[in-house]
Symmetry: C2
């Protein structure tokens, strides 16, 4: 017991490589045996195949045994579908001693689907039985209705009530992220009594950093941090030592706001109460971390027009579905831009240099607009927008755009002159760049603020809209100016 | 003490609005008094002004008093520079009882700069004196050298050593994120002894969910979770109950890997040890949460080519500097694409429809390529890439591209036909779309995997590179095919 068996994070990479190697070896061996023995007796071949197979299965099972459900999830996500289902069968065999319900909770949505499809209804019911109510609520949307009905029958009244409550909240509400594993005490007892009470437990719930102090009606009176319990005189009273000004959440609160509060105050757990101050659950930093990670993933994916995280081994068709809507939107905006150009075909025919120069004006406008929009979407997300924000931001962004327009536009004007030996073309280029950058700045401020005012998430779709504006707008400004001044 | 003073997250929004309103009112009042009293006696006017000013200052100070440093930071970030410095002066006045060093730690980098600039060296030294060594290390890069020298002189030998160590690690290493507030115990004592030892503390460090068990040489033997301390018999020994297979970090470990381990195992704290297993610090979930948030911010900003988060009230010139490098890169790639078009000017002059259609091919290629790249960058970040990944991914992405090329390309071909009544132009459109989508898929797989192999972060710059490929490539393919088949 005196040496520390270091569980280091590199270990999981190694375990993954080992499992991948074993799976590859298994395929190779079985293939070899199959080929070598083609001319031998059928039974004999099967015997050898079976032996090799069993050996490999034992080796892989050995690797998996005792792993944390999150580690199993990590490995399953990294394997192609056929290997994944093979390993999933091994995981669920008795020897590994792994809670398959918890693995289902840990894997990504796309992978979870593939695992659930491979399980019989009875197996799913059995897997779900080991889960807490709040975990069950997370899994429920992915389970077949028949399975959920069976699980529901196996719950007691309190659990059913909790499950129903947890499932009734929006995905991004505190209610959907809270759990029910809270330890509560009364205010009129001494710390000594609390210490004795805690010794009745086999273990405390994870992330128990504070006990909840409630009255007889389960109304929250305050919280007693474990550290206060530990450093204070056992004869003191809970009521004297509890904190009454800690963060309290309601199940309908936005998870995003709760997450920000956790970050701001460095919390580990927070009580969730009903409107009449009854303690109904708690939220932990583990749920917050998962939420933050999921949200930032979704934002990054959303910016590239991916609906959800893709299982990189997903069938081609799944990928097509995940990506098509963005391509469709893009097709429409590109088509509109193309029609703007079409309207100036006569000008282009007369001065073909315009065709070569116009994508520069549109492209740089799009980039600049996206910079503005990203900055403003971030600022909106922090909730720190001042009342006179529109005026201030427009002033600032338009100033930046004017500077960039004169500087970069001037540079491009010189380049255009160098290429086509026309001062007037250079001038049009500089003017068009400046105007398109001003348009980009204006729309970059107005689009996200308008979306916010309309109650929509400014992070979604702003980027498509601004690019559409700066593309069509850029072509129109450049070709329009050229037609007026040059043709 | 029996009622719960709810600290609800909406409160900060309200406080912010109140402070903003008070600041606006102050300006208005002072302005009014100034105008009304222009004809009165100078002294009298100053008197009234002073009175109104004092009243407003008292009101704002009242709002700020007792706020958490993170809340003060929130408010400061939301204010324009002049208001911000005014409030910052109030915060630092004695009445509010706020630790200004901690506020400096909480604000964003850009805002921190503006606050530090407004402080005298002596004030900075005083602010820093209240901070822990690890916090000081975070602040150090932003402080003037003279101030750091003064602070350094005020530290004892152990603190100096820790500060030096903490500052010696890369920003994204565990060493830079760890703190030194760990409570350690010996393995050969009983829980009773530990409980009595803890009562000697006034308070335990935040996020103490486990005690570290060390030997006489400070080597880590295991950890004793507080919950084990609480539920077990006080007569049992630490050595019997400590866990020896928990996650241990080294200061040189990547913070990103450590954050993933925290997420995976739902940790609150983890010990940091040197190579010879000596306990040198600990990492907490609070540092992990901040790290995850900062990283995802940086990624989102980076995708739009912003170097760092902008203070939305920053001077125009700061914004220009923050954004210019991306615009410069974009200018180069756009110029290259423009030259590709320039090479086909003869063809465009003959068939001007090409000018209108070419941006569609380039644009959709760029979008599709960015989808592929985003998906692959995500997969690389999770560390789950299988050994034969290149072959698998190329096969899948090229299949998706082929499908999209035939489908969307076909649709565009029909549109081109409808607009220009030329079947061959429609055919060129379809072919070019398909080829450019295949190019996008190929580069979308190869670029991030190559960057990874070269040891670079595939999240940075991949998007610029792919857009450059699909723009120039798209123009080249479309105009090249058109020149071959139509001209």
């Amino acid at each position: 017991m005196s040496s520390l068996e270091q569980l280091h994070h590199d270990d999981m990479q190694h375990t993954l490589r080992d499992v991948q190697a074993l799976l590859a070896r298994q395929k190779l061996e079985e293939d070899l045996i199959h080929r070598q023995d083609l001319h031998r007796h059928e039974d004999r071949r099967e015997l050898v195949e079976n032996l090799a197979h069993k050996q490999n299965v034992a080796r892989i099972t050995d690797k998996l045994t005792g792993l944390h459900p999150a580690d199993i999830a990590f490995i399953l996500e990294a394997l192609p579908v056929d290997d994944r289902l093979f390993v999933w069968d091994l995981v669920r065999s008795a020897e590994t001693d792994i809670n398959d319900g918890e693995v289902l909770l840990e894997v990504s949505d796309a992978v979870r689907e593939s695992l659930i499809e491979a399980m019989a209804p009875a197996e799913l019911v059995a897997a779900a039985e080991n889960l807490d109510t709040d975990e069950l609520a997370d899994l429920a949307p992915d389970l077949p209705k028949q399975v959920m009905d069976d699980i529901y029958l196996g719950l007691d009244t309190e659990e059913r009530e909790r499950l129903r409550a947890a499932m009734s909240y929006e995905e991004d509400a505190v209610g959907a992220l809270m759990d029910f594993e809270m330890v509560s005490v009364r205010e009129d007892v001494t710390l000594e009594v609390v210490l004795r009470y805690l010794r009745l437990f086999d273990e405390l719930p994870d992330h128990t950093d504070q006990l909840f102090v409630v009255d007889r009606e389960e109304r929250l009176l305050g919280v007693l941090p474990l550290q206060r319990l530990l450093v204070n005189d056992p004869d003191s009273n809970v009521g004297e030592l509890m904190l009454t000004d800690t963060l309290t959440l309601h199940p309908g609160d936005k998870a995003d706001d709760a997450a920000k509060a956790f970050e701001r105050y460095d919390l580990v757990s927070a009580p969730v109460t009903s409107r009449d101050r009854k303690l109904i659950g708690r939220m932990t930093v583990a749920a917050v971390v998962d939420f933050i990670r999921d949200k930032s993933e979704a934002e990054l994916l959303g910016q590239a027009g991916l609906k959800e995280e893709e299982d990189i081994f997903a069938p081609v068709w799944d990928s097509v579905k995940n990506r098509w809507s963005w391509l469709a939107v893009n097709l429409v905006t590109a088509f509109v831009a193309s029609r703007v150009i079409g309207a100036f075909e006569d000008s282009i025919e007369k001065l073909v240099a315009l065709a070569a120069l116009m994508p520069i004006v549109a492209g740089i406008g799009g980039n600049s607009g996206n910079q503005t929009i990203t900055m403003i979407v971030r600022a909106i997300a922090t909730g720190q927008m001042p009342p006179d924000v529109l005026r201030r931001l427009l002033h600032k962004e338009m100033s930046v755009a004017l500077f960039n327009g004169v500087f970069w536009g001037g540079l491009l004007g010189l380049l255009a002159f160098a290429l086509y030996r026309s001062w007037s073309l250079g001038l049009v280029m500089t003017l068009a760049m400046t105007l398109n950058l001003l348009l980009a700045a204006f729309m970059g401020v107005v689009i996200p603020l308008t979306m916010q005012r309309l109650g929509r998430d400014p992070a979604v779709g702003s980027s498509v809209l601004i690019t559409a504006c700066t593309d069509s707008g850029g072509f129109f400004i450049f070709l329009g100016l050229a037609t007026l001044l040059l043709i």
